[in-house]
Amino acid sequence: MQFVRSTPMVCSLIAAATTVVASGAHARAQNSQRAPTAIVAGRYVAPDGTIGPKRIITLSNGKIAAILPDAKIADDAKIAYYNDAVVCPGLIDVRSSMGAYGNTVESAFSVDPGVSVIDSFVPDHRDFRLAVESGITAALIAPAPANLVAGSCAVVKTGGKTSARAGSVLRDDGPLVFGFGPATWKYDREPTSRIGAMAMLRSTLADSRGSSQHPQHAKLQAIASGKLDAMLFCNDAMDVGAALRSVGKLAANVSIVHTSDVHDLAEEVAGSKAMMIVGPYSFSMTQRTLSTAGVLSGAGVDVALAGRMPIEGGHALRQTASLAVRYGMDPAKARLAITLNAAKAAGVSNRIGAIRPGMDADLVIFSGDPLRLDSRVLAVYIDGIRVYSADEQQTALAGGQR
């Protein structure tokens, strides 16, 4: 993994000073609380996943401007103080169907590269409010992987400038989803078997290399020529092997979504540079399943953890990370797995997933380490705007709303 080095301290200090002065002049008094110019973080989740010391995070135009070491700064109404808290990049649920309305699979054809899940997107969906309360600021929504080529993913934010309750689209041309395993075999259309599926996939990719101008083929051409990311949904270890040997060799960035255990393939996956998406973890799972994330990341595989909201609740993402750590995953890697690695799998790591200058100011204020389930979400910022505050939310539910 590579990280952009943080801006030298001196530059950031100057930049911060200008930011504070410039935006201070323009900000309206009533907005100052919701859109601060700086956030004082007691501790913060650093880009390497570890928990770093006190920092001042300055914000500008919805982006992170600078990360300054602890220094005396002028007391200002436009600065949000979280001296006892841990500031974390907004959590990303990399396997979600949040805001996707209706059936996201085209059942007549098994090869649908033209499908785009964004067409089913409903911005004003209550899932987003629950997500924000849980510290999830972005989600990758994928078409249901019940087809050989199921369509394109989208990446959405769970809130934004327009409304605190509505999602906004970050990217509508996300990775192309390929389905492997029994879910794609149907009796009423091809493929009907594992070997049939693999044969069909090979011929589909070969066909797309030709001179066809059909829009259906454009995305497959991009995959075959290594210009598009692919997300491969697998059912068991056998599917993972097949996925790596077919699309896995071609696509630009590959992530593998795997629903059961894959211990025995750890080395093979590590050699392929593919990102593994593991989870969600529940209290009912076996020791072997729960230790998958730890085993994979221990073998050098980049792991992203998924919460699968709204099939699971908003808690599931952090619960998955917590359980993964209890079953052997390194805590820093677990923090990356629900932030930066998830952003990488979604192809948006240039925008979100880490607290670095230039990144979107999507920040979650936790009362403690986000991996600890007794830590609480105190506030959530998306694009530099506070979209959730625990204090304000305290009694909102008392009326009986969910």
Binding site: F283, G313, R326, L371, R372, L373, D374, A398, R402
Partner: protein, 541 residues
């Protein structure tokens, strides 16, 4: 022991044989004898204590001892604190850098439960469905610090039986689990998942069972009165007859055939019976007048077969004899018929007499309100289990001071048509602010979830749980699973806290127990090492 002493004597006889020697041997034998007798007590004195040294101790009552020792002896905590000194020759467990907490208590569990659902009778006992050989499951639970579980008698809608409290101590052979309480609560399910009409029917049926238990008691009391009246009249008659002619044998005959019939002073007889009952079943003496009329079989546990069969036989015998006597001697006087023994009502009456609470699984607000009405009508101590929509009726719960037990906080809410459709992870938070007492367990549906009650409690308390644990809200989750849980289960004198005299159910964590990267290194249950982390056993520590 006598045999042993004799043998010794014989042996020495053959060696030598003088009188002096014989006396010597006798002395030796006596010494040997005395030694044998003293041995058990002596062994206890010499039993090596286990000492956990220099650990951070979270006592389970809110207190944190930053650096202290715990001395375990005879299955109990002998001393705890910064100044506790290790006795001579004690086994030491290095606790520096580690945290010790009480064993966690799952107040709503299904761990080790087998044999399917209850048959829907109050006389069913959850302990009978507990599989004490489910060692892998117990090991997983111990691995996450769980040492005590409450398992309910689960079944369909209705009254399902009594719950058990089980300590996951190593048992005989390869078993585990010691039943600490066989009747911890009466388990009732309101069947929230069913249609409104089915639910109303269920509620009516449950209500009827409580009512019939009360009617049963009244009929026993009536019988009591009638019998007294009968005895009184019989006495009068006898006195009258005695006046007429002495030496009539008939009352004597009757006494020999039935020990429950008139003695010269029936009041005294009853009292004695009652006393015997009280001696046999401690804390059971609340309705001795009722119990005193049971056939001998009912003095055992009120299992349906035992009690009712014995009783029926007794009754039929009585009826036959009495009828004969009456026809012969007293035309007007008729012995009152004893009501048939009703084992189910006896269990229900115990809950009405507050011997144990009634746990009602209800998820929807209507079911919870029904439960409150039931509690009000029969003056019951109830606990609402599940309580998915408790936050909607929090004020009613607070007013009636009814506690709730919550299950999995992270339940998915996606299925719109179930009783969980209004589930929110903030239930606990809203109940707290309304002043409702809540507890948290693993939920009554997933045996494997018991191991994760710490995570579950953290999820529940993290949402702004305001009550402090040693001044910080951070360890509220731990308090809920230790000190508070044992109090809730009426076990607070035995478990749930690290204090002198409490049972040594202790968990040694490698670091902070709330940090998922901490592991459980050792678990003691009842002073015995019940779990040792594989990492430690490989290293040979």
């Amino acid at each position: 022991m006598h045999l042993l002493a004799m043998k010794t004597r014989h042996f020495t006889f053959s060696m030598a044989g003088g009188l002096l020697r014989r006396r010597y041997v006798r002395l030796f034998a006596i010494a040997f004898f005395v030694a044998l007798h003293v041995a058990p007590a002596h062994g206890q004195l010499l039993e090596r204590a286990t000492v956990i040294t220099d650990a951070r101790i979270m006592t389970g009552s809110g207190l944190v001892i930053e650096k202290g020792s715990i001395i375990i002896k005879g299955g109990k905590i002998e001393a705890v604190g910064a100044t506790a000194k290790a006795p001579f020759l004690s086994k030491k467990v290095a606790g520096a850098g580690k945290t010790v907490t009480p064993g966690l208590i799952d107040v709503w569990s299904t761990l080790g439960r087998t044999g399917g659902a209850s048959d829907g009778k109050a006389t069913s006992r959850a302990q009978d469905g507990f599989d004490r050989y489910a060692r892998n499951d117990f090991r997983e639970a111990l691995r996450h610090g769980v040492t005590t579980i409450y398992i309910g008698a689960d079944g369909g809608a209705g009254i399902n039986g009594t719950a058990a409290i089980i300590q996951l101590a190593p048992g005989a052979g390869k078993s585990a689990g010691i039943v600490r309480e066989k009747d911890a609560a009466l388990c009732v399910n309101f069947g929230s998942d069913r249609s409104p009409i089915a639910r109303i029917k269920t509620f009516a049926a449950i209500r009827k069972q409580f009512q019939s238990a009360i009617d049963y008691r009244e009929s026993l009391e009536d019988y009591d009165e009638d019998l007294k009246e009968y005895v009184k009249k019989l006495e009068e008659l006898r006195n009258k007859e005695d006046g007429d002619k002495k030496g009539d044998e008939s009352p004597k005959d009757e006494k020999s055939t039935d020990d429950k019939t008139p003695a010269p002073d029936p009041g005294d007889d009853e009292k004695e019976d009652g006393d015997k009952e009280e001696e046999k079943e401690d804390g059971d003496g609340k309705h001795t007048s009722l119990r005193s009329f049971f056939a001998p079989g009912s003095e055992k546990t009120p299992l349906a077969e035992d009690g009712s069969d014995d009783d029926k036989q007794g009754d039929s015998g009585k009826d036959g004899d009495n009828n004969g006597d009456e026809k012969k001697d007293e035309d007007e006087l008729k012995k009152p018929a004893k009501p048939a023994f009703d084992a189910v009502s006896h269990v229900i009456l115990k809950s009405i007499d507050h011997e144990f609470p009634v746990r009602i699984e209800a998820h929807r607000s209507d079911g919870i309100l029904n439960a409150l009405a039931l509690a009000d009508e029969f003056n019951l101590d109830i606990v609402i289990e599940g309580a998915t929509e408790a936050y909607l009726v929090a004020d009613a719960l607070a007013t009636s001071e009814v506690p709730v037990v919550l299950g999995q906080v992270g339940r998915t809410a996606v299925f719109e048509d179930t009783e969980f459709r209004r589930h929110t992870t903030r239930n606990a938070e809203l109940l707290t602010s309304a002043g409702v007492r809540w507890m948290i367990g693993s939920g009554g549906h997933d045996p494997t979830a018991a191991r994760f009650i710490a995570f579950n409690s953290q999820l529940a308390t993290s949402n702004g749980y305001k009550k402090s644990f040693n001044g910080s809200t951070q360890y509220a989750w731990l308090y809920k699973l230790t000190g508070d849980a044992s109090r809730f289960l009426s076990m607070s004198r035995r478990i749930g806290r690290i204090e002198q005299g409490m049972e040594a159910d202790l968990v040694i964590w490698s670091g902070d127990p709330g940090d998922p990267s901490s592991i459980v290194e050792r678990v003691f249950v009842g002073g015995k090492l019940a779990y040792l982390a594989p990492q430690l056993s490989e290293g040979g520590s």
